[in-house]
Symmetry: C2
Subunit: 402 residues, 2 copies
């Protein structure tokens, strides 16, 4: 293929042929019970009703009802490697009905009521639709979508103690989730209950898109691991060259910070089939401290749902700061904002504070003063990443960063 | 469903049951010959070789070789409704090899050489990969991707006179293309030639993603028309409620300005099956002058490829400025940038200048001073769009804006 007159220092030695390409019998999740970690629709409706009745009773008795919401901030978050995710703490903010809070209190209750209608009608609303629906509420109209989104977050936080999340309340984001290729059958149903068996090896030059809510999907797979990829361009390369066949893995395009549904999708694969998960991202503070950190342990601002929306078994395959040296990758200079992000992670992020190997890697990156993209490997030939880089890495997963 | 105590003025009268839901036999493209409007791989390689030989011969004779590139700007573009797209004119800029241009001349030739390798090796490079590959070129390295992208645009313009486009030169963008649902079978092949038959009614809660290059796809469909949708949220609603079944149409999520591959995908459906194409977008200058205009007649900056990458048969279903009035939609104020965009379109855009009905609609929008999103219809109930708005509109496609 492309010009390859130079090769990086460590290219000697073809990767050993591991057993990864051997086809195995399709595995079905052998712990179906564990999958339903979330509340059922009936439980969701019951929780909404109970909360509303409590408010109603309080008012009926002449009291001032309140809602106790978990504080969602890094200051109320802890990380324990054994639990595996950023866990929300016990701090609560109590919202009491008063003259000042009556509108937001009413909006919260109306949005909860909408959620109940949606669950009972087997429908959903996008975040934007939920905002527009309020335009037909006399005194409780939201002024803009920022308001309705914030109220939705509060409601999710309120119900998270009962293991109910936003998707189960039937409020969906509009974002495009990731794409998937490889030895995986997704069993899905549409609104009418019709079953679709989706074979993720059978998309020609295309791929499968993860839907907005993945809780009701079933899976069958014979894969050995999941490989998560930051950029659509790299995913295209691995997908079109059937890397998933060669390495018997499921490829997932994250397209930047993985959406909640991608995180949940991969988490379920990881839990139900005991599959290792490897992340292949750019070597820069954003790739490490935002994309990878969010994938593995969740985020600070949504700590109330991290329990479900992260993949604690994930490991960091690359690109590592040391790879920049070993593979003589073309780089870009770190900007001030990059350096700030890396230093913030070292100083304030419980995840990085808990992992000495990550601290060293971030310090090395700051010291080098540069970043490198995963597609920079193309300098050594377009398919160097397939023929050399990934096989060599996959020989030693124990070397991956935690 | 959601609160619907008010309804807009014109909601009376259920839409007539048209014959759209009647299943017809699957149609296959009856003009397969017309589909291959583009050059074959062999022709692409021949064109590259011929161009390179011309440059080489000129140098060998002691001359100064040049490359004549079409000028890509609105000033070199015309619109004729019968042709149906913004057509590039005859202005050329000639790049002659000199001391000042030697590097960019060399880069152009090396990128053409890479393209030839890619076609011959049945591979592709993303725009970013092409940039990184140059890092292994001694004196012709690109300093940043803006440079390599611009050179790639020049090469595409150069070869566009031979009906060869960037995708056929095997340079792909990294963007996520649109999603598709409905009565359509896509027949695709992967790099190994394996055939995949993809049934776009069988994705459960998900949908099919349009790949980056669609020229080699084959289609089978029984649909009556194609409905293009601006936002992922509205697409989700129509898709999950199987609007494609009720109206026997193919739903396509554009996700903003449609990518080249989405435009080409829909164009082929429109040409080969003689399908009407309707666009359902936000009512704002961006939705009208960027999204819809680019869909229907292409763009000014890429006028050299508009011939293939637009859908002249498209019509504008809504949301129209008059819909804002008729359906009493919640609105946002037009910002200065919106007003400027609309005025620019009226003054400078050959498409809008050529259509009096569009001029009136844009003037009405500027006069009203507001914009409305398609999801604003949710004010009248989440599924008002499915039960009322779209069926009523689809009774009179002749009323759609041109």
């Amino acid at each position: 293929m492309a010009a390859r007159k130079k090769t990086p220092g460590k290219t000697g030695g073809a990767p050993g042929k591991k057993g990864t390409a051997i086809k195995k019998a399709v595995k079905r999740a052998n712990t179906p019970g564990e999958r339903r970690v979330h509340a059922s629709d009936a439980e969701t409706v019951r929780e909404i009703t109970t909360t509303a009745e409590r408010v109603h009773d309080s008012i009926a008795k002449g009291g001032r009802p309140d809602l106790a919401l978990p504080v969602r901030a890094l200051s109320n978050v802890s990380y324990d490697e054994k639990r595996g995710y950023l866990e929300i703490g016990k701090q609560r903010k109590v919202r009491t009905l008063s003259v000042n809070t009556v509108k937001s209190f009413a909006q919260t209750l109306r949005l909860m009521s909408l959620s109940k209608e949606l669950v009972e009608g087997n429908d959903f609303a996008t975040k934007r639709e939920a905002y527009y629906i309020s335009k037909n509420w006399d005194d409780a109209k939201f002024d803009d979508q920022v308001e309705s989104d914030a109220t939705m977050d509060d409601i999710e936080a309120l119900f998270s103690v009962s293991s109910i999340n936003r998707e189960q309340l039937r409020f969906y984001a509009e974002e495009h989730s990731g794409s998937v290729s490889g030895p995986l059958i997704v069993v899905d149903r549409d609104n009418t209950g019709r079953v679709a068996r989706i074979d993720c090896t059978n998309f020609g030059s295309g791929s499968y898109s993860v839907p907005n809510s993945v809780e009701e999907l079933d899976f069958e797979t014979s894969a050995d691991f999941v490989l998560l990829i930051e950029t659509g361009g790299m995913f295209q390369r691995l997908q079109s060259h059937r890397f998933w066949e060669r390495s018997n893995c499921i490829l997932v395009d994250m397209g930047g910070v993985p959406t909640r549904s991608v995180r949940r999708f991969v988490r379920r694969l990881s839990d139900e089939f005991n599959l290792p998960v490897y992340a292949f991202v750019d070597c820069d503070p954003y790739g490490i401290a935002n994309i990878y950190r969010t994938l593995k342990v969740g985020s600070g601002s949504a700590a109330h749902v991290n329990k479900f929306f992260c993949v604690p078994k994930a490991h960091f395959l690359g690109v590592t700061p040391q790879d920049i040296v070993d593979y003589e990758l073309p780089t870009h200079e770190l900007k001030d904002v990059d350096v700030k992000r890396a230093k913030d992670a070292l100083k304030n992020d419980p995840f990085f504070k808990g992992h000495p190997r990550w601290r060293s890697a971030l310090e090395q990156l700051i010291e080098m003063g540069v970043r490198a993209e995963q597609q920079a490997l193309a300098m050594w030939g377009l398919n160097y990443v397939i023929d050399e880089y990934l096989p060599r890495k996959l020989e030693n997963p124990s070397q991956f960063l935690p």
